[in-house]
């Protein structure tokens, strides 16, 4: 929310300091996110009065003026503005001034006439974009006043209003809070005005359907002048972020920003009949609003209707039919509270965002509508815009509910850890306009003020006291807690192990989005209909929830191959199938490689089998690779844990393993100590030629079956051998527990192994 500093200052007689105010508000929870300082003009920019205006003798569009900038200082200034006129108070930049747009002002001769200064327009002062004419100040401004001290520019504080504090959506609310913190009184705005008897406007009868309004008032104004609102009102409305329109609308907006109460003005002469109804919309009704668009209404929408139909969408926007125009002479001013849940639903459905909606949605204090309508009447009558007619039309009076909370300073002290004496609690709450009375056992019965809709329980009250004492006063106090063992949940621990293992094996961890689109889906062989889709994707590129990690990972591999000859990536993340129940999670691991050289498939299978062996405490041969072409199942026993696959994307070959981390974790065996033999090991190499449809893990299984003395198998070479054949070479390690192996024993083992391989169709190369 924008807080124009001079507007805030108007509630206080004591001069406020911008930095101190910002710090104080932030410290009590109204965070000032930024401060937009007004421009600084310096000593050569002053207020002057235009004394004479004459046409320039040598230029049709220029005027020669005399301007008084001090008692003894009258200057001739050439001016091009069409709106310059005798008697205006204007901003004059004297020679020596440097304007915010960088312009240096000097004495000059313009078309033969000497000009000693410049009368400034808004854009030249850097306070607006208006260059249609010079800036005209309030006539009461004193000649010679430095522009820095006028209301020419404004310092604006930008505040983040949390949703629990609707009262902060008004200058009054902010001022009240600031007064409580700084312990200075605030001056309430004037709400007194004079009524006259209604002569030009008829009486109205208001009916409020049950549940459509918590408060509803109408006030009649007659003899409305077609004039601008006083400049200070329009300026403040603009500084708060509103737009200036006509006097009546500007004043309703002013009260909105000042009090936080949205008001709506109807042109009374356009209301058909003398009966006004606040009711739920009927099926099939529609309304054209001030934004000139038509909206179809539903039965949860609240409307204001005259005898013919809806004239406003309650709490959101007025209808165009009864809008205030330059011809309006009689006005009906509405001040009301509409239930926030309906406002929220309707505005959300229709997609309308207005200042009024924002405030009704968050809730209006029950006593506010009456104050606001009186304040508006005071402003309208004082400015001479219109006459207030006798009698307030009451559609519904609010039913005040007293909310009482029992609080115990002792309990609050325990909750916060801050010393909270009874006197402190009482005095702080009273500063915040709470009513505090004694209750049994040292407790207090407290009643929050009407504008504090956020206070319901003792913890809320404890926060109030802490806020005003200052959060910085909370002491440092170490908790004495139970002895609990710090540990990671199994899946968290295991995922971390996998990450560390892969990172140390030359894989780079990536994080990709949890969504993808058709482009990434095309990189895989998954059907679109196996996915859960987003109702409201940010873009079509991200409409599917990822069922696998591979689409985004493959895309990343391909992207990286443009810069790197070898790419090895992995990701661990949650995936979502069509059947994933909210509140449950499944974790996947994707490992993917791509090289300029061959061998991606074997490389990734080799790395995966090592990870499997290392982290699950199993033999790599426990992995069974299914049959098939470019994509094959990875099984352990009968359980499918994932797949291995190879893709060609453009000119790039990518190999990928994707598997379920949850399934891997289930397969983890307890780590057992292995026997260590004191007898020497014997090393042999073996090369085996098989069909390229079989994988090296299958061969390893066959080797393992061939000899009980085999303690380790390491693949060290894979070379294609002509048509559909591949040669795998392994280092074999033999060792016995109880003896040194003789060479004849090894020969025997190698023979058994060879026959095992040959049995399965492999050829052992020698």
């Amino acid at each position: 929310m924008k807080i124009p500093f001079s507007f805030l200052q108007s509630f206080f007689t004591r001069r406020l300091d911008v930095a101190r105010v910002a710090e104080s508000l932030t410290s009590i929870g109204l965070e000032i996110e930024s401060i937009e300082r007004g421009a600084h003009f310096g000593e050569y920019v002053k207020v002057g009065e235009v004394l004479t205006v004459e046409k320039h003798p040598h230029a049709d569009r220029l005027k020669v003026t005399t301007v008084q900038v001090a008692a003894q200082d009258i200057r001739t200034i050439v001016c091009g503005a069409p709106n310059v006129a005798v008697g205006q108070k204007v901003v004059v930049a004297l020679p020596g001034a440097v304007l915010p747009n960088g312009l240096h002002i000097q004495n000059a001769i313009i078309r033969g006439t000497e000009s000693s200064g410049m009368i400034c327009a808004e854009d030249e002062l850097g306070i607006g974009s208006n260059h249609n004419g010079i800036l005209v100040l309030d006539p009461v401004t004193k000649i010679g006043t430095p522009a820095d001290q006028c209301d020419v520019t404004e310092t604006i504080l930008e505040a983040e209003v949390t949703t629990n504090r609707p009262d902060w959506l008004s200058l009054l609310g902010v001022a009240r809070e600031l007064g409580s913190v700084l312990r200075i009184p605030i001056q309430m705005p004037d709400e007194k005005f004079r009524e006259v008897s209604a002569k030009c406007i008829k009486p109205y009868k208001v009916e409020v359907q049950k549940g459509t309004a918590e408060a509803y008032y109408l006030r009649r104004f007659q003899n409305v002048k077609n004039a601008d609102a006083p400049a200070w009102i329009s300026k403040r409305v603009q500084n708060c972020g509103g737009t200036s329109q006509n006097a009546v609308v500007d004043i309703t907006n002013y009260v909105l920003f000042e009090y936080g109460q949205p008001l709506h003005a109807f042109d009374a002469d356009k209301i058909r009949g003398s009966r006004i109804r606040v009711r739920f919309a009927k099926a099939g009704e529609s309304i054209q609003l001030l934004d000139t668009k038509s909206y179809h209404l539903q039965s949860e929408d609240i409307v204001i209707a005259d005898s013919k139909g809806p004239i406003a969408l309650a709490g959101i926007m007025g209808g165009s039919l009864s809008a205030i125009t330059s011809e309006t002479t009689n006005v009906l001013l509405e001040s009301a509270i509409f239930p926030s849940k309906y406002i929220r639903k309707t505005a959300k459905r229709l997609g309308i965002v207005t200042e009024a909606r924002d405030r009704f949605e968050r809730g209006i204090p029950l006593d506010l509508p009456l104050h606001a309508v009186n304040r508006a009447a005071e402003l309208v009558t004082t400015a001479g815009i219109a006459q207030a007619c006798k009698g307030l039309i009451v559609g519904k009076k609010p039913a005040f509910k007293q909310r009482q909370i029992i609080v115990s300073p002792a309990r609050m002290k325990k909750m916060i850890g801050l010393p909270m004496t009874q006197t402190l609690v009482k005095s702080v709450l009273e500063r915040l306009h709470f009513t505090v009375t004694k209750a049994p056992k040292g407790s207090y019965k407290v009643t929050p003020p009407a504008f504090r809709s956020d206070i319901h329980i003792e913890a809320d009250v404890a926060e109030e006291v802490t806020r005003l004492v200052g959060y910085t006063a909370i002491p440092t106090e170490y908790p004495s807690m139970h002895l609990l063992v710090g540990k990671k949940e199994a899946i968290v621990d295991f995922s971390d192990q996998v990450r560390m293992y892969l990172a140390s094996s030359g894989y780079t961890e990536i994080y990709t989005h949890s969504m993808y689109g058709d482009r990434q889906l095309a990189l895989t062989f998954m059907p679109a209909d196996s996915h859960r889709q987003l109702v409201n994707p940010i873009s079509g590129d991200e409409k599917y929830l990822r069922a696998e990690l591979s689409p985004n990972v493959i895309e990343a591999v391909v992207q990286n191959r443009k810069e790197f000859p070898s790419v090895q990536l992995f990701e661990i993340g949650q995936v979502f199938s069509k059947f994933t129940v909210p509140g449950t999670q499944s974790w996947h691991l994707a490992i993917s490689v791509s090289y300029r050289s061959e061998g991606a498939w074997i490389s990734i299978l080799n790395d995966f089998s090592k990870l499997f062996a290392q982290l699950l405490h199993r033999n790599p041969e426990d992995i069974i690779i299914g049959s098939g072409g470019h994509t094959r199942d990875i099984k352990v026993g009968t359980e499918v844990v994932g797949y291995i696959s190879a893709r060609h994307v453009g000119s790039v070959t990518v190999a990928i393993v994707e598997c379920s981390v949850d399934e891997l974790l289930k397969l983890q065996l307890t780590e057992k100590s292995k026997w260590i033999s004191k007898y020497p090991r014997v090393l042999r190499d073996i090369a085996i030629v098989v069909s390229d449809a079989s994988d090296f893990l299958t061969i390893q299984r066959q080797l393992r079956r061939g000899s009980l003395l085999l303690t380790s198998i390491q693949l060290f070479d894979a070379t294609p051998q002509g048509e559909h054949l591949v040669s795998y070479a392994f280092h074999l390690e033999f060792q016995a527990k109880d003896r040194t192996l003789s060479s004849s024993e090894i020969e025997h083992e190698m023979k058994t192994i060879t026959s095992c391989i040959q049995e399965k169709g492999g050829k052992v190369r020698t």
Binding site: R467, P479, K487, L534, A556, Q574, D717
Partner: protein, 336 residues
């Protein structure tokens, strides 16, 4: 030049040459110096020409020079043998690239692990939590009923209903895990849950639709806001150093009361001066939320906190654009 000086200059010259020579050139140098007919052998021959005491004295020096030369040339010869390209080619076959590739953990992982290790040391349990949630857990049970303005549904990704299944959303915060974790636990508890969250908003240098939060909470008897402050202060001192300066400020989160934000006085690499940076949201767990967890608020109290992991990573490595973290770009990831 006497023999002693000759020995000395041989040692110095050889050291000089050894520094620049590699491979076979180095082998030539070794033979020239230490070979059977090399320079050192020649000087040892000269040694025999000396007499009595003189020979003994210079002999001791000659032996020292020899052992220095041997250490210098023989040792280097041994290590260089393993770096010849032929040797490498033999040692590695189909994947001669893999040993050269550097692996790396993602910065988000590194921050999470670092934060987790601090909390582990304080007896927190690190738990896993689901990204696909229901509105009930993401909002209602966290004291954000449907008709309050705090329920900002415009930030939420909604997931299409699949036949026979509940409506789902992508969680907008890690907080729903508080309720889930307490379904299977009883106080006292200390829990930390890092995880991915989602916001439906336009992305730019400081906004991502996917990002990481770290949620933590403590429930026990007599837990106070002073304990919350002290715990967070301790953690921040572990992460950012003992002199870290923090500031507490009231803030509103529906699931805590009182609520607060924690700012840290921090100098970013590009800044001239340190500034207050908002880094943590926290507060005392709201009694309604405690009840929704099945915990009696008249017996137990607790605090909760959450912070953005991405922001910590961005400050730590001075990363200018949050989207780089999710780009999968190796060049970027290896630069950290």
């Amino acid at each position: 030049m006497d023999l002693e000086q000759q020995l000395h200059s041989l040692l110095e010259e050889t050291k000089q040459s050894a520094r620049t020579l590699q491979g076979s050139d180095r082998e030539i140098l070794r033979i020239a110096v230490l070979g059977r007919k090399g320079k050192l052998a020649h000087l040892f021959d000269e040694l025999t020409k000396l007499s009595g005491d003189e020979r003994k004295r210079v002999g001791q020096f000659a032996n020292r020079v020899r052992s220095d030369l041997v250490a210098l040339l023989e040792e280097k010869k041994a290590s260089s043998r393993f770096t010849t390209s032929e040797e490498l080619a033999k040692a590695i076959t189909w994947s001669n690239h893999s040993d050269h590739i550097q692996g790396k953990l993602h910065p988000i992982t590194r921050i999470i692990q670092r934060v987790a290790s601090v909390f582990l040391s304080m007896g927190f349990e690190i738990v896993d939590s689901p990204e696909l949630e229901t509105e009930e857990y993401n909002f209602d049970l966290l004291n954000i009923p449907e008709d309050v303005p705090a329920r900002d549904e415009s930030d939420t990704f909604f997931v299409q209903k699949s036949k026979g299944h509940t409506d789902a959303i992508l969680r907008t915060q890690t907080s729903p895990m508080q309720i889930r974790a307490m379904k299977e636990r009883k106080p006292p508890v200390r829990i930390l849950a890092p995880g991915r969250v989602f916001r439906h908003e336009a992305t730019d240098a400081s906004h991502e639709s996917n990002f990481y939060q770290c949620e933590g909470f403590v429930i026990d008897k007599n837990i106070s806001m002073a304990h919350l402050k002290t715990t967070l202060q301790t953690v921040l001192q572990e992460l950012y150093g003992k002199n870290v300066k923090i500031r507490l400020r009231p803030h509103y989160y529906p699931f805590v009361e009182p609520g607060m934000d924690v700012d840290m006085f921090y100098k970013r690499p590009g800044d001239d001066e340190p500034r207050w940076l908002e880094i943590l949201g926290s507060g005392m767990i709201h009694p309604t939320v405690l009840r929704n967890m099945g915990v009696d608020p008249s017996v137990y109290s607790g605090f909760a906190f959450a912070f953005g992991i991405d922001r910590v990573a961005m400050l730590y490595w001075d990363i200018p654009d949050i989207r780089m973290l999710y780009s999968g770009n190796m060049k970027f990831l290896h630069s950290l």
